[in-house]
Amino acid sequence: MAITSSIDRLADRAAGATPPQMRHTVRGLSDRGIAWLFIAPTIVLLLAINIFPLLWTLYLSFTNFKANRIGREIKWIGTRNYERILADADIWETLQVTAHFLFWTIALQVLIGFTLAWLINRQFKGHSFWTTVIVLPMMLSPAVVGNFWTFLYQPQIGLFNYAVSFFTGIDPSSFQMIGSVNLAPWSIVIVDTWMWTPFVMLICLAGLRSIPDYIYEAAEVDRATPWRQFWTITVPMVMPFLMLAVLFRGIENFKMFDLVVELTSGGPGSVTELASINLKREAFEKWRTGYSSAFAIILFVTVFGAANIYVKALNRVKQR
């Protein structure tokens, strides 16, 4: 009661300090109105920089618009851009390249990231130092990493080829990582894994550290083997974190651009041309704005749909 009356007094004082004109205006607004007043700037910004461009892209995807031909008449061409994209063998090839990249980077990053987190979580001597060392690649700019690895992959002077040669005895200049059709897709997988495994490791580490010790103690009392503890306690409890890491890496790698452009420019030929690189070429080098808008919408719907399904699965795992 005392608290209520003191709040009332405070509100009265604040109202008294409000200039008469403004007081009149504010008094005319409901709570909902005031709430709208506060969120309106954010809504306007959101509409201007997110929703409007999305709707505009949707509109352009049904036209023959080219951004470098401003004076040209914009024609409504219906679903022709979508039909062209879905019938274009090169686009499907690009999507296959993207799927290969996504699958292997995520699989390797989860496997290595989780293993590293599990090892770091053993709290061995110097584990903090090794955590810092492992996290370093993630802190570098993708452009720098791409450039750096092009030198490492250089068949005549690159350290990577020499390392492979040292362990296998193969002549270092006998193979090219980024120049070979068979090896180039793996070369980008290796670099992305090198760079982003630490991120997955950190998320897994957070998951591992969130498991209370008493659960393991109870398991030990029940004489559960370490193997059983791992599969029945560690994995299920880290799973939501792991799924979150997969979601982040999946979204990031679906739109991967800078690292791969620096490394291979999408080549040799088009074997490392990811969907994002193809999209950039269509939109800002060929200037096929309508066509590229349709491709962007297709990619957006794909990612949005997949992410929604995934988030629902993630919530189910969390609730278990």
């Binding site: 470098n68 004076g71 200049s173 980024i178 059709v181 080549g267 040799p268 088009s270 080098e285």
Partner: protein, 439 residues
């Protein structure tokens, strides 16, 4: 007293500010690629500032980003550049999209005649529609794709003897594309002065225009044409003719037999690097780089030789070079035109050549001393006589990227056959021309 001093200081500061503002108002910006000739142009332009009082600013962009950066600038109607030294392929878009000022009236008024410039450069850099007397640029920098080689290696007696024994002719500048490949094979993997060397460096770059500029060098030499009838866009039978297929197969073979490992995305800089580091016996590049190469302490001078792109069925070279245009969005068009008027003068053109730029002016090219003025001058003239260029249509970027993809897929990624690559290219180009309403 204090007030007087303060007033005086303000007056001086105001006057200086006004002067600075006037000077700034007269500055013009010239946009071009960042390479050796651009540095020569900076040096040359100091004379223009001295003569006219108009200051020059420069916006130079590295080649791999040049087209992206500058075409974005033009498409957005930007005012960054008053003068653009744009690639020859941009002329169609520059004219049709209204980026470049048409210069006919200005040329007539100032007495600048296109007859004073090499016809091939006028055709390639200035006219749109092609070959018509509608000028949108002054030929600024003549250029073509040529070759250079390690003269010191070629002149080694033991290598000469071995080459003659193997091929039955002297080891020297190749006269045909196939001879060039023989020499490439001869040097490939050979140890010279204790180091492993390779045959050639050729353009294989995927991202911008590299592999197209390189491969068309071979294709033009085989007689490649874009259309059966100029202006009709009838590409079937021309683009994928047996000669074109053979030329493309040749380029792929040259890449496979004779290049150093790792050069799968090689363009101008990689060509220079591979040559200067002593990896290759021969390399292709634009003539624009030849003055710098000749001056190089290690591989230049007596150690380097130059030759024009070898013929096969016909003598032909890939065109490089650029024209100088005034940007229609510029607020300083008068000053920009004044620069073009100054640049077109014969004595300025002569100095341009002496500084390392490639003049397209007949007064320079037809001079009796020109051929001997530089070790590559005669080759440049020969190349200029047979230059051929890529499409110069407004949709050139779309056409170019399609060719980049098809050629790289075939040559470097070993995908399909040469005929399939060229067939697919026709499909791509047909789609583009249909979109453009030209088919």
């Amino acid at each position: 007293m204090k007030k007087t001093i303060l007033a005086g200081a303000l007056a001086v500061a105001g006057t200086m500010g006004l002067m600075a503002q006037n000077a700034k108002a007269q500055d013009i910006t010239l946009c071009w690629a960042a390479w050796d000739p651009a540095n020569a142009l900076v040096e040359l332009s100091k004379d223009f500032t001295t003569e006219t009082g108009i200051g020059m600013k420069f916006e130079f962009v590295p080649w791999p980003n040049f087209a992206d950066r500058m075409l974005n600038e033009l498409n957005s109607g930007g005012k960054l550049c008053d003068i653009m030294i744009g690639d020859s392929q941009w002329i169609g878009g520059g004219a049709e999209n209204g980026h470049y000022v048409k210069l006919n009236a200005f040329f007539d008024k100032e007495g600048i005649s296109m007859d004073d410039f090499a016809p091939a450069t006028v055709y390639a850099y200035s006219t749109w529609p092609k070959g018509t007397p509608n000028y949108y640029a002054l030929p600024a920098m003549g250029d073509a794709n040529g070759w250079f080689y390690r003269k010191d290696w070629f002149s080694k007696p033991e290598l000469q003897a071995e080459f003659k024994k193997k091929y039955g002719r002297d080891l020297g500048e190749p006269k045909t594309q196939k001879e060039l490949m023989d020499i490439g094979r001869f040097f490939q993997g050979r140890e010279i002065d204790g180091k492993k060397r390779y045959g050639v460096n050729i353009f294989t770059e995927r991202g911008s225009e590299g592999i197209t500029m390189g491969a068309t060098g071979a294709m033009y030499a085989w007689g490649f044409k874009y259309e059966n009838t100029p202006g009709k866009y009838d590409m079937e039978g021309a683009v994928n003719s047996p000669a074109a297929v053979e030329a493309l197969e040749f380029y792929k073979e040259l890449y496979e037999c004779c290049t150093a490992p790792g050069y799968t995305d090689s363009y101008m800089q990689e060509s220079l690097d591979s040559f200067k580091s002593g990896q290759v016996a021969m390399a292709m590049n634009w003539f624009a780089f030849f003055p710098g190469l000749y001056k190089d302490e290690n591989v230049g001078g007596d150690n380097i030789g130059f030759f024009v792109n070898p013929a096969q069925n016909v003598a032909a070279s890939t065109l490089g070079g650029q024209g100088m245009s005034v940007i229609s969005y510029s607020d300083k068009q008068d000053e920009a035109l004044a620069y073009i008027k100054w640049f077109a003068q014969p004595d300025v053109q002569a100095k341009w050549w002496s500084l390392g730029g490639y003049s397209a002016s007949n007064s320079v090219l037809n001079s009796p001393t020109f051929k001997d003025s530089q070790p590559f001058a005669a080759d440049f003239l020969e190349a200029l006589a047979g230059v051929q260029d890529f499409w110069q249509e407004p949709a050139y970027a779309e056409l170019l990227l399609a060719m980049q993809k098809r050629l790289h897929d075939y040559v470097v990624a070993d995908k399909g056959t040469a005929k399939e690559a060229l067939d697919k290219l026709i499909v791509d180009w047909t789609e583009t021309f249909e979109d453009e309403g030209k088919l």
